[in-house]
Amino acid sequence: MTPRIPDSDLPRDMPRLHVFGSQLHLDDGTAEQMLEGHLDPGDAPHGLTHVAALLARVGTERESVHPEPNPGLVAAMARTLQGTGAPAPVPASHVKEKPMLGKIISFKIGTAVATAILGAGSAAAAATGSLPTPVQSTVSQLLSHVGISVPAPPASHGGGAGSSTPVSTTATTAPVTTVAPGSGTATSGTSGNGAPPTSVPAPIPVLPGSGTATVGTFGGPPTSHPGKTEGSQPPETQTTEPVQAPEPTEPPETQTTEKPSSGDSGGGSGDSSGGDHGDSGNSTSTSSGSGAGGSGPSTTVSGGDHGDSGGDHGDSGGSPTTGTGGSSTSTSVPTGGGGGGD
């Protein structure tokens, strides 16, 4: 038997509940009658008489209450109801779920729209080269792998390890000289040892403000693309299709202009990729030659920050030089920095 706790020790908010609760017997029918207020207190089980009386009184009071009309509130309800537009009724079980479902759908639609706007804005910024330099570089590099040419950020340095990396970054402002009409214009870094300047199909597509892609081919012949150049018009506002360096053919026999650069030893190795993957700008072709007279593989890198301005070997910048080889014209565009040749 549960020991009786003195009343003085009971919490005030639980007076003696333990004494009665476990000793009362209450069946469902009786309980329902009590809750309805229909059980006469005299018929209630022992110990529940007064509860039955109280519940009966509550029931009587509930049934006898006749609330007064509230015209103001009812009018307000009518106005509120008419303001809702009265859509088609739905089952009561769905009423509470609708608002949350609507919120979720609205949130998803809003998120999709915001994402589309941000995506479009970012794409536009990337296409115009307006993104911050690191971001632009990354985007440009990534998209180049999928064949999309996006301008790389302007070069801020010209030399990497062991490379002069004369990066052409200002195509629109670079003085281009001595370009024969109808001949190809190439920005070239001439390798030493008599390596011919490399001619590049011109104009090389660039975007305004971006660097000029140039190709340096060492040992490779100047290639001409008659008809693709229009005088000395700077290669500006061109689309950014990747430019394939021409297949090396015969080395040029003549070279009208020597670069005033310090030259380099590039003739032997013929690697014009120039050590530094200087970010020369938009579309860059790098070519490998096989030294003087030799031919080498020609590779094209488009739009990445691996872009090499070509002819990095020994391009000291300083002044524009023009070399003609064959029917093409090679133009060296100074980039200011003029890193030393490797």
């Binding site: 908010d13 639980m14 007076p15 003696r16 509940l17 004494v19 009665f20 609760g21 009362l24 209450l26 469902d28 309980a31 329902e32 009590m34 809750l35 207020g37 110990g47 529940l48 008489t49 007064h50 509860v51 009386a53 109280l54 519940l55 009184r57 509550v58 029931g59 009587t60 009071e61 509930r62 209450v65 006749h66 609330p67 009309p69 509230n70 015209p71 509130l73 009812v74 009018a75 307000a76 309800m77 009518a78 509120t80 109801l81 008419q82 809702t84 537009g85 009265a86 859509p87 088609a88 009724p89 739905v90 089952p91 009561a92 009423v95 509470k96 609708k98």
Partner: protein, 190 residues
């Protein structure tokens, strides 16, 4: 159109904006709603009741169901408004309601006559229920003061009917000593 009209007709008219029909729906439940709210929020019951009925009006066009469904729906809204009120109320307001600082029914010292005189039976029950565990008090008020059936209470509190029935049994048993003592004191006084 009066309180004896068919519920579906009244509902349809009310959903169409008929003010008279809206008034009929209001009169059918307003007393129970107010009693339920008085048991939970005390003197703010009138204000909360207005919020409840305006919420009902806002959602009424989307409601579909019978009279029992309507009762459950209205008291579900009322229950949510009570929760909102408890959340928004200052702590001292809730504490005062819980402690019954000024109008507290003390089953030990107050005589039944005084209690009955000072409070209506509904209020007396509500204040006694305040000594019960929260779930028991909640279902007891809905069952007795609001006059919902056990099945309807289960729908409102989102519990199974059997669980509600068990809570009600326990509530009655726990009320017994309170009411017993209340009436014993009353009889001794007389």
């Amino acid at each position: 159109m009066d309180e004896g009209s068919d519920f579906s007709e009244v509902l349809r008219a009310a959903q169409g904006g008929n003010q008279e029909a809206i008034g009929v729906l209001y009169l059918r439940l307003s007393g129970r709603v107010l009693g339920y709210l008085r048991a939970h929020v005390g003197q703010d019951a009138e204000d909360v009741a207005s919020e409840v009925w305006l919420s009902v009006a806002r959602s009424l066009p989307r409601f579909a169901g019978g009279e029992s469904d309507f009762r459950c729906w209205v008291f579900t809204i009322a229950r949510r408004r009570v929760v909102d009120w408890l959340r928004a109320a200052p702590w001292y307001q809730v504490t005062a309601l819980s402690d019954r600082s000024d109008d507290m029914v003390d089953p030990v010292t107050d005589t039944a006559g005084e209690v009955v005189e000072r409070f209506a039976a509904q209020d007396t029950l509500a204040r006694l229920a305040d000594y019960l565990p929260e779930e028991q008090a909640r279902v007891l008020i809905l069952r007795v003061v609001a006059g919902l059936s056990t099945e309807e209470v289960a729908r409102v509190v989102e519990k199974k009917e059997g669980a509600v029935r068990m809570l009600l049994h326990r509530a009655i048993k726990n009320l017994a000593p309170l009411a017993e003592e209340l009436f014993e004191i009353s009889s001794e006084d007389t």
